[in-house]
């Protein structure tokens, strides 16, 4: 295991381009300056990390690639695949016109993209200092790739932390669909700190779906930074199921006129899981639009957090921004927090937000029972129905069925065990 210190950093820097080496050194300074986040900070409220990055380290060598799970298997028709195992880019398979590989191989200026600021938090600083390999996917201008690209990010070594750097660039008027899986084996305590960066060029259409599938002892602390250009569309899908902690710190900026972003999907926590969503959608350009639509469920002692800030800057006239977060709390010991927020610095906007936290509603339950459907079955139908709207809006249909099954199975098992 390689500690997160100067010695490890210089080892990574040997043979690295000088710009990258000095960026790593600056990030290390930030890393040393910053403390581990605590629940006292607004942006980390409700989150008890229970580990310290200083006590962890990089794996010395990557472990074996994990076999496909239900989600990976459902993505049989792929434009390309890349596997990042324990921070190392292991396999790339790509027959498409897009470029997929390390920043060098994929070309362009991907390696120089730094949307994530090192002083965001200690995890961001560590990610910028100790990222070993990166994956860049570049969709060249005017090219449309129909089948999805799959980036399978895995953490397999106990007590290690890895910092995968993932960059997706959809160039002018291109189109692509991407799925990023985050996985770790059951029983392996490890921390994944991905730095996902996406840029969507003029008129381009990109969808990126992240699927959280870490084992119950794995943690995923992701930063996702994205920049959306003129008349460009980014659809972000989320299926959050895994990890004792799964955090998505998403900050997306609508820069060009007419750009749009959608964040849609679902999360479902069980046992002691903490699912943590911190979203900021920043409208800078005029006539931009955004919609956040996330549905969540928690059972057992799981906890979810959603904070969503829609920020409309002064020049973003003609903007529309909507945010919906609905949560089912299915056990007495479970908890969901939902805090939508608007910050509007411009008059000419249409904005709205809705948020709810609560158990299954009694009237629909009574209605289904009045047709002769037993209470347990009616509850399963209602849970299924609750998530159906979110599943139906996922950017890629291939993921609908595994997402549906995962949620339904969790609730049905909890019902059998008398936990809900």
């Amino acid at each position: 295991m390689l500690s997160l210190d100067n010695q490890t950093l210089e080892r990574l820097n040997s043979g690295a381009p000088s710009a990258l080496a000095s960026r790593r050194r600056r990030a290390l300074e930030e890393y040393r300056r910053l403390e581990m986040p605590t629940p006292k900070e607004e942006n980390w409220k409700y989150v008890n990390l229970g580990f310290d990055l200083d006590e962890m380290g990089l794996p010395t060598a990557p472990g074996d690639r994990l076999p496909d799970d239900g989600f990976a298997a459902s993505l049989s028709n792929r434009a390309g695949s890349a596997f990042m195992v324990d921070g190392r880019l292991l396999v790339v398979d790509n027959d498409s016109e897009a470029r997929l590989g390390s920043a060098d191989e994929a070309g362009g200026s991907g390696s120089g993209m730094d949307l994530l600021a090192a002083d965001t938090d200690k995890f961001a600083a560590a990610a910028l200092a100790f990222s070993v390999d990166d994956i860049t996917l570049r969709i060249p201008r005017n090219r449309a790739v129909e089948a999805p690209f799959v980036i399978d990010v895995q953490s397999t070594c106990s007590n290690t932390v890895t910092f995968p750097s993932l960059t997706i660039r959809a160039e002018e008027n291109s189109e692509a669909t991407v799925v990023v899986l985050f996985r770790s084996p059951e029983g392996v305590p490890s921390v994944l700190v991905p730095n996902l960066q996406t840029t969507v060029g003029y008129g381009a259409r990109l969808s990126v779906t992240t699927v959280g599938l870490m084992g119950s002892e794995g943690a995923n602390v992701m930063h996702h930074r994205s920049k959306i250009g003129r008349d460009a569309t980014l659809r972000i899908g989320e299926i959050g199921l895994g990890g004792r902690l799964s955090r998505m710190d998403l900050r997306t900026t609508l820069e060009g006129r007419g750009g749009s972003v959608e964040v849609v999907g679902l999360y479902y926590g069980e046992m002691q899981q903490v699912l943590d969503y911190r979203l900021v959608v920043n409208h800078v350009g005029p006539s931009t639009s955004s919609e956040v639509f996330l549905k969540g469920g928690v059972q057992d002692h799981a906890q979810s957090i959603f904070t969503g800030l829609l920020r409309i800057e002064e020049d973003a006239a003609g903007t529309s921004a909507f945010e919906t977060n609905r949560n089912l709390v299915l056990s007495d010991g479970a908890k969901a927090n939902s805090v939508p927020n608007l910050e509007i610095l411009c008059n000419d906007v249409i904005c709205g937000h809705g948020s709810s936290v609560g158990p299954l509603e009694t009237e629909p339950l009574y209605y289904l029972m009045s047709r002769g459907i037993s209470k347990a079955r009616a509850e399963r139908i209602l849970v299924r129905g609750f998530f159906e709207e979110a599943i139906g809006r996922l950017p890629l249909d291939d993921l609908d069925e595994p997402a549906r099954q995962a949620v339904n199975r969790r609730f049905a098992l909890a019902q059998e065990g008398g936990r809900v």
């Binding site: 709810s356 609560g358 509603e361 009694t362 009237e363 629909p364 009574y366 209605y367 289904l368 029972m369 009045s370 047709r371 002769g372 459907i373 037993s374 209470k375 079955r377 009616a378 139908i381 209602l382 299924r384 129905g385 609750f386 998530f387 159906e388 709207e389």
Partner: protein
């Protein structure tokens, strides 16, 4: 001939408010009874208390085909053969109408092919084809919801059907269709209680008995001419004939109705 639905001295309250104050009713198999009464008299509450809505506490007795139901859950009552067509059914987003009919059939041990056959047949009859694959009661007009409810009764084919204002909000053609369906329910293995405000449907389907409810009680019962009397002289006229002072008869608060809006607890 057996009795599809029997109710004896049924009292019910929600919180501390008593809404039903001793209802007696008996619907033999093969008969259709109409229940009329002014707004707030307790007609919908009667349906929900019999269906097992969890908000009500009930005293008294009720039987479906000889089996006591008041201690049973709403689902058990329905499987025993009591099904209500709701006046304002709640939307169940994300759950398809066809899906709940199939699930309900499965719970009753009905063969899936037989269930599909019944669904197809009832769907043709009530023109529900476009709604089978849509969320239950979601984004439906008032009339479409009524059609959906009578469609479900038709699929589930209960022993005792409670139709809560199924005829209101329908266009004239659909009133005829519903009336024909109700007429067909007058068969040896079924009894029907039809709550209605309008005597319009009673010109298509003649009830065996008409009951009038006021202030949480059935104050009088009679033949089809009772409905005609109401049409002519109104509830006020009936009160005079029966010597009921209007005060006290219908001062019942209305909490029960307010629970049955489409989105009762939406935030």
């Amino acid at each position: 001939m057996g009795v599809a639905l029997k109710v004896q001295n049924l009292r019910a309250s929600v919180g501390s408010v008593e809404i039903l104050r001793g209802v007696d009713l008996e619907i033999p198999f093969g008969q259709m009874h109409a229940l009329m009464g002014p707004n707030g008299s307790g007609k919908s509450t009667l349906c929900h208390v019999l269906s097992g809505h969890p908000d009500f506490t009930a005293e008294g007795k009720a039987w479906v085909d000889g089996e006591e139901i008041l201690d049973l859950g709403a689902d058990q009552r329905a499987r025993l053969g009591l099904v209500q067509a709701f006046q304002s059914p709640v939307a169940v987003p994300g759950v398809e109408l066809e899906e709940i009919m199939q699930e309900a059939a499965e719970e009753r041990g009905i063969d899936p092919d037989e269930a599909d056959r019944r669904i197809a047949e009832a769907s043709r009859r009530f023109d529900m084809g476009p709604f089978l694959g849509r969320s239950v009661n979601d984004d439906l007009s008032g009339g479409e919801k009524k059609r959906s409810e009578i469609f479900q009764i038709s699929v589930l084919s209960p022993k005792a059907a409670l139709l809560d204002e199924t005829d209101s909000g329908l266009d004239i053609d659909m009133v005829r269709t519903v009336a024909a369906a109700v007429e067909e329910m007058r068969r040896p293995d079924m009894g029907v209680l039809m709550i209605t405000h309008h005597s319009r449907i009673l010109s298509y389907v003649i009830p065996d008995r008409v009951h009038v409810m006021m202030g949480g009680k059935i104050v009088t019962s009679g033949g089809p001419d009772l409905a005609q009397e109401l049409e002519q002289s109104g509830y006020e006229g009936l009160r005079k004939r029966l010597g009921i002072t209007s005060a006290g008869a219908d001062t019942t608060p209305k909490p029960a109705f307010d629970f049955f809006t489409d989105h009762p607890f939406s935030s």
